[in-house]
Structure formats: structure tokens, C-alpha cells
Symmetry: C2
Subunit: 338 residues, 2 copies
């Protein structure tokens, strides 16, 4: 099938751009030095391409992602880089043979992990982002407590999420260094082999972590594109112009906000060139094409670049993989929901 014949809206990945992004990151972070973040793509078919390239250790954000990866035979070394209390579902995976490690940052989460039957943990340390992770001064105590409870403490984790999107490189690196010094200090107290952290935005500057948690680099979005990295926009939503208002100078495509993550704002229209996004509705994207609306006809295809990759993918059932205008594969988004 030609990509131009796809029913729309369709979530599309350009395979050449994807492979380029995969290869650039693999060169810098080979094998298990990279721990690809499944939350960015939620697809075992995509994950398998990474495993085939030697990246067999993954991290996840939800229990459902962990379960799906294990079921797909991708359970060599799965980290739940998130705190959860419903750990029994994860314990069941341990029994089935997958290697399951879970982030903990409190007495309660350690208790839940033990009760659930999970055996390995990382101590999650807050390195500046107001989210999960214990205050750094509690890391040592929690590590001791976890070991006393019979858990294997593999090391520490800390995500500099407040830093990865900063557009000024010097600013980004300076603030990352502060975060990573906090994490390194916690690691010295906690012990273990792993220092896990980082992301697409700090892929070429974070030299503190032993493994990089990156996912967005594979597909990319307009927010990360601003950082001037060598990763190409591989992800787009393909749409069709369904209405053109010539007196008003606008056109409407069938790529609405239910097909796009909107927390980073409006998407961009890559094709037709010159299109300017006005707003998104549930199932519509209104864009201007100049006073005569000459650049758009009903039935034309549009290519929309999302502002945020992760919540965009989570809205779709499948990723259609395209190479040179042909559909070459379908990757089900099989790790959605919870």
C-alpha cells in the first residue's frame, strides 16, 4: 500500500529517519549502556528492533508496559522507572522468569515491593525535578532499609526532567551537572552497579550515568527538535484536508487533538509548506494557507508534526511504518492503557 492511500488520521513513522536515529544513539550508548524508555513508543514491535540492535535492557513507566514487554519475550532486564504500590502484578512477572527491577523512594514503596514479590530495586533520588524520588539525604537510609528487607539494591536512579528540555545548551549542561552531582553523591552512599538517568535532551553530555534512559530520540517531536540534536523527525500524523474556506483563507484537516499530545501546545504542519496552525479541535486542525487558500484542496494530504511524542503515540492503536512512500510494516501500540 502507498502511504498516500492510508486512511486518515494515521500515525506514521518514517523508517529511514527512525533507523538513523537508532544508529546515532547506538553509537554513543551501545548495548545495555542504553536503557530505551518504552513510555515514548509503547510498542513491543518497535522495542524488538532495539533489542535486535543489542539494546536488551529497557525501562518502563507503567505496570502494563512491563507486562507487555515480558510477554513479548523482551524481559531480559526491565526497569520500572516509577513508583507503584500495586506490585503483585510485577511479582508475577518475576515468577515467570523476567528480570524485574522497580524504583522505590519511600518506606511505603519498599514495603509494597517486598509484599509483591519483586526482588530487585533502584533507589530513586530527586535531583531537582519536583516529582518522584526521595530527598537525597534519605537515599542511604532507604538503601539500607531495602537490603534489610531482603531486596537486592542495584543502584540509584535520578531523572533530570527539569533540565532535558532547556533550549540553551550551556544552561542545560550546567543544571544537569548539579543534578548529576547529587545523584553521584547518593550513589556513593547507596552502592550498587547502576546509576540510571538522563534522556534524549542530555544524550551527548550526561557522563555521570552508567545507563541512559532515552526514548524520544527514536521518533522525535517539535519540542525536542528545538535542541539542535542530530535526530530526525521520524513521527508524523498523516491527515486529509476535509474542508477549505476560501473567503476565510483557512483549511481543515482531520488531525484533531484526540490524535495529538497537546500538553506542549499545537503541532506544526510540515506539508503543505507554508501552512500556519490556527487551532486544534477534537477531530480537526484548522490552518491558514494564505488569502486565496490556493495551497490546499479538499482531499489533499497533510503531514502534521506533534509537539510531544509520548502522549501522541498513546492515542493511537498502531504505528504505520513507511519507507520511500510505501507502507512496509505495522507496529501495534500494544502497551497503551494501564
Amino acid at each position: 500500500m502507498l502511504a498516500a492511500d492510508l486512511p486518515t488520521p494515521a500515525l506514521v513513522v518514517d523508517l529511514d529517519a527512525f533507523d538513523h536515529n537508532r544508529a546515532v544513539m547506538s553509537d554513543a550508548w551501545p548495548g545495555v549502556r542504553l536503557r530505551p524508555h518504552v513510555k515514548a513508543f509503547k510498542s513491543t514491535s518497535l522495542a524488538r528492533r532495539l533489542a535486535d540492535a543489542g539494546h536488551v535492557a529497557f525501562c518502563c513507566a507503567t505496570i502494563r508496559e512491563m507486562e507487555g514487554m515480558a510477554k513479548a519475550g523482551l524481559g531480559h532486564d526491565l526497569l520500572l522507572a516509577n513508583e507503584v504500590l500495586d506490585t503483585k502484578r510485577l511479582g508475577a512477572l518475576v515468577e515467570s522468569g523476567a528480570r524485574i527491577t522497580v524504583a522505590v523512594d519511600s518506606d511505603e514503596t519498599i514495603t509494597a515491593v517486598v509484599a509483591g514479590g519483586v526482588r530487585e530495586v533502584l533507589i530513586d533520588v530527586c535531583v531537582g525535578l519536583p516529582r518522584c524520588g526521595c530527598p537525597p539525604e534519605e537515599a542511604g537510609r532507604l538503601g539500607d532499609e531495602a537490603r534489610a528487607a531482603g531486596l537486592e539494591v542495584r543502584g540509584v536512579m535520578g531523572y533530570e526532567g527539569h533540565v532535558v528540555g532547556l533550549e540553551d545548551r550551556a544552561d542545560r549542561e550546567a543544571k544537569m551537572a548539579i543534578s548529576m552531582e547529587i545523584l553521584t553523591a547518593a550513589h556513593e552512599i547507596v552502592g550498587g552497579e547502576i546509576v540510571s538517568g538522563g534522556g534524549t535532551g542530555t544524550w551527548d553530555s550526561n557522563r555521570w550515568v552508567t545507563e541512559l534512559q532515552a526514548g524520544s530520540y527514536l521518533l522525535m517531536d517539535t519540542a525536542y527538535a528545538k535542541l539542535g540534536m542530530p535526530f530526525r523527525p521520524a513521527l508524523s500524523v498523516s491527515g486529509t484536508v476535509v474542508s477549505v474556506n476560501r473567503p476565510g483563507g483557512w483549511a481543515v484537516a482531520d488531525v484533531g487533538l484526540k490524535a495529538l499530545g497537546m500538553d506542549h501546545g499545537n503541532p506544526s504542519v510540515a506539508e503543505p509548506a507554508g501552512a500556519k496552525v490556527w487551532f486544534c479541535s477534537d477531530e480537526h486542525l484548522t490552518f491558514s494557507v494564505g488569502p486565496d487558500a490556493k495551497a490546499a484542496q479538499v482531499g489533499d494530504r497533510v503531514r502534521v508534526l506533534p509537539a510531544h511524542v509520548d502522549p501522541t503515540v498513546a492515542y493511537h492503536e498502531r504505528i504505520t511504518v513507511v519507507q520511500a512512500g510505501e507502507v512496509v510494516d505495522i507496529w501495534p501500540v500494544d502497551l497503551r492503557n494501564w
Copy 2:
């Protein structure tokens, strides 16, 4: 099962609030005077409750919604209140016995409807919202063209979407009147029995339409709540506190932006009282609970009110229906995707 034992995040509907909202609207717009908008809830189980209350004519925003409604036996009178070119799927529904009406606003969409085998249309008129709908001066010509092509023209449609969310009631009503005068004028030229339009925000003031397209009133969100209508917040996302940072004064729940429509901004936290939302990440909601974080403990439940109902529902597999703290039903969100 108790609602408090639900795995989280869970999309929850309070049945008493839902029934209240349904009844208030049914009193004002009984039977087929109301054409409930399926896009707001994407669930045939929910739609069946409306049909049981006499609302057997529905409108949809996607072909998938139309197909699912017909398959569920809810195809008495289905309006696709949207322009599409892929009308063959809709023509197949006509053959199977469902009554299918489609909005058209151009030569191209009329051609597509004829080619697809759909037999009934509404002329969609732009009444001020820069989206679909023909310029009003083209409505008569398109009506003639549709009839010449053998289509039954049931009337006109025009959605005052630029007006329904205006918080000042007088402003909302004044602008609605302008829009509806445009629609009425187009109707006089086009003919047919139907003038379809309106929504939750104009439910008690739009006296121009013969049928009201409303959907959000059933579940509600914080954006519509600002309008001071008698509809109650029936929809929430139930979450669990997974991390508390006492020195920082914040807590983290497992209700992230992949569980929430974010185009209208951040959600609100209804419980615990006093919680103030800082930001959402993919799977996390960070909120402040005062300097001692006394109001939140790891394991506590939170109740999150979305800012926009439609894209929130579209992220979830199911709606869990709760009454007096007990789970009493599950409504699958079976009309998602395209």
C-alpha cells in the same frame, strides 16, 4: 468492588451525577429534539442509557463512532456531523439498515457521499467558527447540487463552537444569536426539516435549532463548570499518591497527562481538599499540599477533574461507573480511534 479498591488511574463516572445531568437535559430537550454527541463519551453502553430515555437520534464525529453505534443497534438516526471523504464505510452502513446522514460543505464532499452510497445529507454552514461548514452564501447552491445528485437534503447544520465556552452569559447569547441568524437564513434557502446545532454551553438559550447537539453535559469538565450550569461534575480520574516529598511540600499521583485531555490546561484536584496542581507529566501529577505535606500520604486516593472531557475519555479503555462508593457497571470506551 469498592471504588476505593480500583486499580489506578481509573476513569470514573458517578452514576447519580450522570443521571441528574441526563434528566435535566431530557426535560429541556426531550426525545429526538436532543441529538447527543457521541464524541464526548465514545461508549455504546453510555449511549444505550440515552436511547432508553428516548434519545434515539445521535450525532458522531468519526466514521468509527458511526460504525460502532450501528453495530450496537443504535442506528435509528445517526448523523456524522463532520466532513469525510472516505464515505464507502458509511455507505455500507446504509446497506445494512442504519439511517445515516452526513454533513457536506463542498462539491468534493457531495461527490464523496454520492460515490460512497450515502443517501441523506445536511448542508453544513459556517456560522463563525473557523472550521468546517460552507460560507453561508454557498449553502443554497450546495443544497441544489446535492438534490441534483439524488441526495435527500434533510436540512442544515451549524455549530457555534466559538461561542459555547464564553464565560459571560450575555456575551455568549449575543454572539450565539448572530450565528443562529446566519444558520436560519441558510435554512430558509436550503429547506428541509432539520436545523441542527448548539451544544452544552448554549443548551438553555439556543431556540433556533430544531435539535441540539450536546454531549459534554453528561460528564462535564472544569472548563464547562465555569459557565454556572445545573450539570454536575460526573467524570473524574481516580488516582493513587505514589510519592510524597515532605521537605519540598509536594505529592505525586499516578494520573498523568496520558490519562487527561490537556488542551484546556491542567486538571484540578477535587480530593484531597486544598491540593494545588503544579504540573502533569506523562504518568504523574505533581501537586502541592502545603509545607508539611500533611494532607497526603503514600497510598492515599486522589480525585482529579479533567479540564476537557472529550480527549480525556479518548485515552481510556473503559469508564468505571460508581454509585455510593461501589462499582456498579463498566462502560467500555469502544468507539475510540478511527
